[in-house]
């Protein structure tokens, strides 16, 4: 059974097309990464899966259930979690309260189990600081909290929106470690969009290259690692597929 299937979705903000005919497939337990330069539509893509940005065309399927018309809180109920761009933890609440909110849909017992089984093991520092106000945590700790919060619902599919943004290289390494462990040890399926191509290629089982709202390339990370196309998409070349009248 396919974990997530995105079928030719298109989305526009007013008259500006943000995504055009994008199709992605995610197998259970795998990590799929979308790479691409700014303005490629990566964030919009993640938002559309979570229901935060309604699509104009196409369908989104999660394990035999169509989810593109559902309200956000119902998509959350299906076991899909989001680690958003910029972390967006509830800054005026404590760490432990953030985690409780993450487990809003569950019973107290389930929350406590999750805390012991997941948070204590993968994010021990968060447990140490559980009474600290979330807004006072460092950038990296906030990112860990955002991930832990998303896991509290028992989510089996996690969406990551640029997890490395604004983090020091050391923290990026730590975050990458946690993501990798979660995937391997807890079989969490992951869709991630990243601007940092190196990080994306490291973590991914399968890669899609998004540019101008369209999928330009796809393949395993091994295939794409050495690809010139990727570099071209990011910083342009003299030749390439897009022509422009010479001046």
């Amino acid at each position: 059974m396919i974990e997530l299937e995105v079928k030719k979705i298109s989305l526009r903000y007013g008259a500006v097309p943000a995504l055009t005919d994008v199709s992605i497939t995610l197998e259970p337990g795998k990590i799929v990464v979308l790479l691409g330069p700014n303005g490629a539509g990566k964030s919009t893509f993640i938002k559309s899966i979570m229901g935060l940005a309604p699509i104009n065309k196409g369908e989104i399927w999660h394990r035999n259930e169509r989810i593109d018309r559902l309200p956000v809180h119902q998509i959350a109920r299906l076991g899909i979690g989001l680690v958003p761009e910029g972390r967006r933890i509830f800054s005026n609440m404590s760490v432990i309260e953030n985690l409780y909110v993450g487990g809003f849909l569950r019973t107290k017992k389930e929350i406590e189990t999750e805390l012991i089984e997941t948070v204590q093991i993968y994010f021990p520092r968060l447990i140490e600081r559980k009474r600290q106000i979330a807004g006072t945590l460092s950038g990296g700790e906030q990112q860990m909290l955002a991930i832990a919060r998303a896991l509290m619902s028992g989510a089996e599919l996690l969406l990551f929106d640029e997890p490395s943004l604004g983090l020091s290289p050391l923290m990026v390494k730590e975050v990458a470690e946690v993501i990798r462990k979660l995937n391997k040890e807890k079989q969490v399926s992951i869709i991630m969009v990243e601007q940092n191509a190196h990080l994306g290629l490291q973590l991914a089982d399968y890669v899609y290259l998004l540019d101008g709202g369209r999928v330009k390339m796809k393949g395993t990370s091994k295939d794409l690692s050495k690809s010139e196309e990727i570099i071209r998409a990011y910083i342009g070349t003299g030749g390439g597929t897009e022509t422009h009248r010479t001046l």
Binding site: M50, L52, P71, V72, H73, A76, R77, G81, L82, P84, R88, F90, S91, N92, M93, E97, Y100, V101, G102, F104, L105, R149, S153
Partner: protein
């Protein structure tokens, strides 16, 4: 100015403050979390007071029965106002404010028409004073203080120690991310509005005996709620408490020494200064 007089003024100020806490915290909820500036907030306070009068003096019910019934009526009224008017207009801030002005006229007009414009006085079945040192603490006022604190306590428990309260605070902090955690924010908004408005109503109920009741006192209390919240800081519950204390005591002191009208003028000038200098208030969060 004798010490006992000071003490008396201080006690009165505290009682007034406790009522303002309910009024302001409710306003804070509605404005801070839903983003709706409800000019008619004070009118629900006034409604609460009038209902209390009606149940106590008109129907001769006990105070607690009046309290319960009035509270329920206010809650229902708030639900109707929200669903019928304010929620559909939530998109545009200005239109919402003007709509709330419509509510002001409607509620004030109806109460005037039904109950008449003369001032009413509520006589509680409880009378008498308690002597403490040289101070005379009237039982009705003590009751007001006690009930206000009790209601506030229940409110604090709800907001800080329950799942619902966490959902409420999360929604206030980041509605999109609250949804992502599975919270139905429409439902939260509904309950928050009704809760906040009912708190105002309860303020009116417990304070119904302290001043003569007139239909057009509604606007005054909306303004008081606004003053306290701006002073204390939008979005901050401790701020609302601090603001309520300051304004309540200010009113009591200046009102006793000079005159209540001057007290209101001073309050307004303070608010103007705050709006210009630190619009986020004393304890508020910047950029809200």
């Amino acid at each position: 100015m004798s010490l006992t007089l000071l003490g008396q003024i201080f006690f009165n100020g505290i009682v007034i403050s406790s009522v303002y806490v309910l009024l302001a915290v409710g306003f804070n909820l509605v404005w801070g979390i839903l983003g709706i500036f409800n000019f008619a907030h004070g009118h629900f306070y006034m409604l609460g007071a009038f209902m209390a009068w009606y149940f106590i003096s008109g129907l001769n019910l006990g105070f607690f029965a009046a309290f319960i019934f009035s509270g329920i009526c206010i809650f229902i009224g708030a639900a109707i106002a929200l669903k019928g008017l304010l929620d559909p207009l939530k998109e545009n801030e200005f239109v919402c404010v003007i709509a709330s002005l419509g509510l002001v006229s409607l509620i004030e007009g109806l109460v005037s028409a039904i109950f008449g414009g003369e001032a009413r006085i509520v006589n509680l079945p409880v009378t008498g004073v308690m002597k403490l040192g040289g101070l005379y603490l009237s039982y009705p006022r003590l009751a007001t203080l006690g009930i206000s604190l009790a209601v506030f306590g229940v409110f604090l428990y709800l907001v800080y120690f329950t799942n619902f309260g966490r959902a409420l605070r999360a929604t206030g902090s980041d509605p999109e991310m609250a949804q992502v955690q599975g919270i139905n924010i429409s439902r939260i908004y509904f309950i928050t509005f009704c809760m906040g408005t009912t708190l105002a109503g309860m303020g009116g109920i417990v304070a119904c005996h302290m001043t003569p009741l007139m239909p057009h006192m509604g606007i005054d209390f909306s303004l008081k709620a606004f003053i306290v919240v701006v002073l204390g800081g939008l979005g901050s519950i401790p701020g609302a408490v601090v603001g309520a204390l300051i304004i309540g005591l200010l009113e009591s002191f200046i009102g006793s020494i000079f005159n209540p009208t001057i007290a209101m003028i001073v309050s307004f000038i303070v608010v103007l200064i705050i709006l210009l200098v630190k619009p986020s208030g004393l304890l508020g969060v910047e950029g809200r």
